[in-house]
Symmetry: C2
C-alpha cells in the first residue's frame, strides 16, 4: 500500500524542511495563484478560482437558506464617511489605499478603496430603514477588499482579497446578538462539513475585537505547523454604528429608535487554511465538496483494445451522477499522471487497465490517506459517491482533529507553556485567564503565544490566571497565528 | 381584458412624458438601485442584484460550456504597465481613478483602478504561456471596473460597474478571429433567448474601435425611445498586445512566435437594456429567465376558508417544479399587490379565490401584454412552465422586434434621415457608406445619428454613400446611442 507520506514530488519542498516554502510551492505548482507586478496582489488562477467558486456556491446557498439577500455596494468610501465611526476609522485608516484623482482631476474628498463596508451599509440603511416594518435587513455581498499590508503571502495575507461580508440590521439587540451567533454556527458548520476542518468557536478578547464592534466572535483552526488560523469572524455592533450614522426607525410604540447591527465575513484565506490543514509533502489534499476535480480516471495501458472505451464509459457514468470527473487520456505516463493529480489534491483516482476490465473492476486510490483498493465496476457510482460524500470528508476531518488534539496543551503556568511548545512544537494552548489585558500581553511576551479566543466550550484547568495567579474568569485558547 | 398600457402606477412618470425620468423612477421604485454619496457609484439592491445573479448564472454556464475558465486578476494596474500598449493607454488613461497612497505612504508607481484588464492578462500570459501546448487559454473574470465618467446614470453609465471580461490567447490569428465571432454569437444568443431582446450583430467602424483592437464587434439593441444601446462587445487584437507585452511562445516548428488575442465583455448595462426594451408605464417587465420572482400568487378573499391552503399548495407545486415563485399572503389589498408586482415586472401573476377553487381553476395574468385568462388547477405546473419558457419570452421578443422594425428607416440622403427621424421619432437608420471617417462625422453633424455598426446582415439600399455620393462600401446602422 502506497502511503501518502512517501514523498514523490520533487517540485515541492518538504513540510518539515521549510513549511513556508512548502506552502508557496503548493500555491505555485498546483497553479492556484501567480504573482503580479503589484506587490501583495495576486492572480487567482483557474484551479484556485474553481475552489473559491465551490466555496461561494455552498456558502451562498447556506446564507440564502437563512434568509439573506445579496447586494452590491460601491468599492469606494469617501474619507468623510469612513470617519463617522471613531473606532472604526482608527482601526482601518492606516491600512487603506487612497484614490486621490479621477482622470486628470484631483478629488475634493479623497476616496478609500473599501477595506470593509460597514460605513457604506450604514449610509444605505439610513436611507432605506424607516419603520420596524423595514427590519430586519439581512444583506450580504461577494466582493474584493483592499488592506495595505506590509508583509503579504498568497491567500493568507494579501493586499486585495476576495470575501463575502454579511451586514444585518435588526429591531432589537437580542435579535442582532442571535444573528451574530447564528452566523458563527453557519461558518463552523461550513468548515467542518464541507472543508473537513475542525474549528474552535469562541469570543475574541477585547483587545482583539473588530474596530467598532461590541463583541467579535471567531472560529479558529489549527494548521499542520501548529499555528492557528482565524477562518471566519462574526461581529455584534450593538447600536454604535446606528448612532454614528444616525440610522433611526419608528418602533412598534411609534417612537424613534436606533437599530442593532452585525457583520460577518469569510475570505479566500480559507484556501490557505485548506492547504495547511490537509496538504502533505506530495501537494494539495482537497476536501471533495470544494475540489474542482473530485475524481480523475487514469487509463492504464490505454493503447490496449477496450481500455479507453471503458474509461470513457466510466467517465459518463460518474458525470451523469453529478461527480466533477476528469478523464486523462493524454500521452503522459501513468506515473506522471499519478503524481500530477496527487499534487493537485484530487480526492479519488480511478485506475483502469485491461486486467481490471477482465475482472470487472477498477483500482481506487484515495488522496488523503494513500489507501488503494479494487472496486467492482458494477457499483462504481455508488462507491465513488459514498467516498466523496462520507468516507473521505469524515476521514479527513478525523485526521485533522487528531492532529489538533495532539497539538493542544493544557497549561497552568507560563513555564509550562514554554516547555510544552518546546517539546511538542507549536500548537494550541489552553490556559486560564483573569480577564486583564496586561496578563494577555505578558503571556504573549513571555511565551510567544497570543490569545486566539475564549472558547464557547470551556474547561476548568485551574482556579487561577496562568499569568498573575489571581482568580480566573475563563479559559482562553492561545496560539501563534497566521 | 386589462391592458398593460392602462396606467395604474402614479409613482412612475409616464414614458411619453419624460423617458429619462420614467427610467430612473423604475430604477428607484422597483428597488433596483439606490444612490450613494459617491457620485456615479450606486448600491445595487437585492432585487436588482438578483437579476444580475441570474444573468451571471446563465452566461457563466454558456462560457463554461464553450470551454472557458474563470480567474481573478488584481483590481490595480501600475501606471507603467498600463502604458505598455500605446493606443490602449491613450483610450483609458483620461478616465481612470488613481491610487496614489497606500496607508500613509505615497506610492512610487501610482496604481489605476482597472478600467478593463487587458494589461493584467497580458502580464500574466507572458508569465505562463511558453509553448503552443499552453494555448489556447480561454479565461474570463466577473469583477467590477471603474471609469471616471462625467455624466452618469444608473446601470447605463456609472463610474463603477459590474461586468465579465473574457480574455483569450491563441496560436493563430484565425483561431482568435473565430473566438471573437463565436463570443459575439454567444452574446446575441443570450440576449435573444434569455432577455427576449433582438439585437443587430455587426462590426464597429474604425473610429469606434476599442483602444488597442484590430477589430471590434458589437451587438446593438433598440430601446423604447428609439435610441440604440450597445449590449455587448467582442474585440480581436491580432498580436498587437502580445508584441507590446512581449508574449512569445515556441510554435510547432520550434520557433518563437507572437500569439493572437481577444477580449469580450457584457455589463450591468444589460439591466438598463431590459428596462428600456420591455418596460412600460406600470413599471418593469422582466424576461422570465432573469426575473427574481417568475410567478407571484395572490390569494383573493384570503380570509375565506381554504383559500390560503390552496394558495400554499400551488406555491409548493410550482416551487418543486423549479419555478421562482412567491406567495404574497400579506394584509395588503389585492389591488395594491397587483400594482406592486406589475411594477416589479413579475412575468406571471396567479390569482386564486373561493370561486376559482370551486371551479378547479385560477386566474392567470401576464405582465408583458396584460392578458388575463382562467387556467385549470390540475395542469397548472405545465401551464406556468410553458408560459415562462415559451409563450412569454417569444411574445416579448416579437413585441420588441416589432418595435424595432417600426423604428428602422432606410435612407438614401441626409435629408431623408432628418425627415424620417422628425416624422417617426428616433430609431435605427440603415444607410450606405463609402468607408470614410469624414462622411461618418458629417452624417453625425448633419442628422444627429452616429454609426452604430456595420451589420453582418447587409442590405443593398443604394449604390452610393448616403453622405458624399461616392460608391458605397457597405450598409451602416446609424442611431443615437446610450
Amino acid at each position: 500500500m502506497a502511503k501518502n507520506n512517501d514523498k514523490k514530488n520533487d517540485a515541492i519542498t518538504s513540510m518539515d524542511e521549510d513549511f513556508a516554502k512548502w506552502y508557496t510551492d503548493i500555491c505555485k505548482k498546483a497553479e492556484l495563484v501567480e504573482y503580479t507586478s503589484v506587490k501583495g496582489c495576486m492572480v487567482i488562477r483557474p484551479y484556485g478560482y474553481a475552489i473559491w467558486e465551490n466555496i461561494q456556491r455552498i456558502l451562498d446557498g447556506m446564507f440564502k437558506e437563512l434568509g439573506h439577500e445579496n447586494v452590491c455596494m460601491p468599492m469606494f468610501i469617501p474619507e468623510s464617511l469612513l470617519q463617522k465611526e471613531k473606532d472604526h476609522v482608527e482601526g482601518f485608516a492606516p491600512e487603506v489605499a487612497w484614490v486621490t484623482h479621477g482622470g486628470n482631476e484631483k478629488l475634493e474628498d479623497r476616496l478609500c478603496v473599501r477595506p470593509t463596508s460597514e460605513t457604506l451599509f450604514c449610509e444605505h440603511y439610513a436611507n432605506i430603514v424607516h419603520s420596524y416594518r423595514d427590519l430586519p435587513k439581512l444583506y450580504n455581498q461577494w466582493v474584493s477588499v483592499v488592506r495595505w499590508e506590509k508583509t503579504t503571502r498568497p491567500f493568507l495575507r494579501s493586499r486585495e482579497f476576495l470575501w463575502q461580508e454579511g451586514h444585518t440590521i435588526h429591531e432589537t439587540a437580542e435579535e442582532a446578538q442571535q444573528e451574530t451567533e447564528r452566523m458563527l454556527e453557519c461558518y463552523a458548520e461550513f468548515c467542518e462539513k464541507y472543508l473537513a476542518m475542525p474549528v474552535v468557536k469562541g469570543r475574541k478578547t477585547d483587545s482583539d475585537k473588530f474596530a467598532g464592534a461590541v463583541a467579535t466572535y471567531a472560529i479558529e483552526a489549527l494548521m499542520h505547523d501548529g499555528k492557528a488560523l482565524q477562518a471566519g469572524t462574526s461581529h455584534y455592533f450593538g447600536d454604535g454604528f446606528a448612532k454614528a450614522f444616525d440610522i433611526q426607525f419608528t418602533n412598534r410604540e411609534n417612537k424613534p429608535q436606533y437599530p442593532h447591527q452585525t457583520s460577518w465575513g469569510m475570505t479566500t484565506r480559507l484556501i490557505g487554511a485548506i492547504i495547511m490543514t490537509h496538504g502533505d509533502d506530495n501537494g494539495l489534499v482537497l476536501p471533495p465538496a470544494v475540489a474542482p476535480v473530485q475524481t480523475v480516471i487514469v487509463p492504464v495501458a490505454q493503447h490496449k483494445e477496450g481500455v479507453l472505451e471503458k474509461a470513457a464509459e466510466l467517465f459518463s457514468l460518474l458525470k451523469n451522477a453529478g461527480v466533477r470527473v476528469k478523464l486523462d487520456d493524454s500521452d503522459n505516463s501513468a506515473g506522471w499522471k499519478f503524481a500530477e493529480y496527487e499534487m493537485r489534491g484530487v480526492p479519488v483516482r480511478i485506475e483502469i487497465g485491461p486486467r481490471d476490465i477482465e475482472n470487472g473492476q477498477c483500482m481506487i486510490a484515495l488522496r488523503y490517506n494513500g489507501e488503494k483498493f479494487p472496486a467492482p465496476l458494477e457499483t462504481i457510482t455508488d462507491t465513488v459517491l459514498d467516498l466523496l460524500n462520507n468516507k473521505i470528508p469524515h476521514g479527513m476531518y478525523d485526521k485533522a482533529l487528531e492532529n489538533r488534539k495532539n497539538k493542544t496543551y493544557k497549561c497552568r503556568t507560563p513555564q509550562e507553556i514554554i516547555q510544552q511548545l518546546q517539546e511538542k512544537g507549536d500548537g494550541f494552548v489552553e490556559a486560564m485567564w483573569c480577564g486583564s489585558e496586561e496578563c494577555e500581553d505578558k503571556i504573549k511576551e513571555l511565551t510567544g503565544v497570543g490569545s486566539r479566543c475564549i472558547p464557547f466550550e470551556q474547561e476548568h484547568i485551574a482556579d487561577t490566571c496562568v499569568c498573575c495567579g489571581k482568580p480566573a474568569k475563563c479559559m482562553v485558547l492561545w496560539g501563534k497565528a497566521y
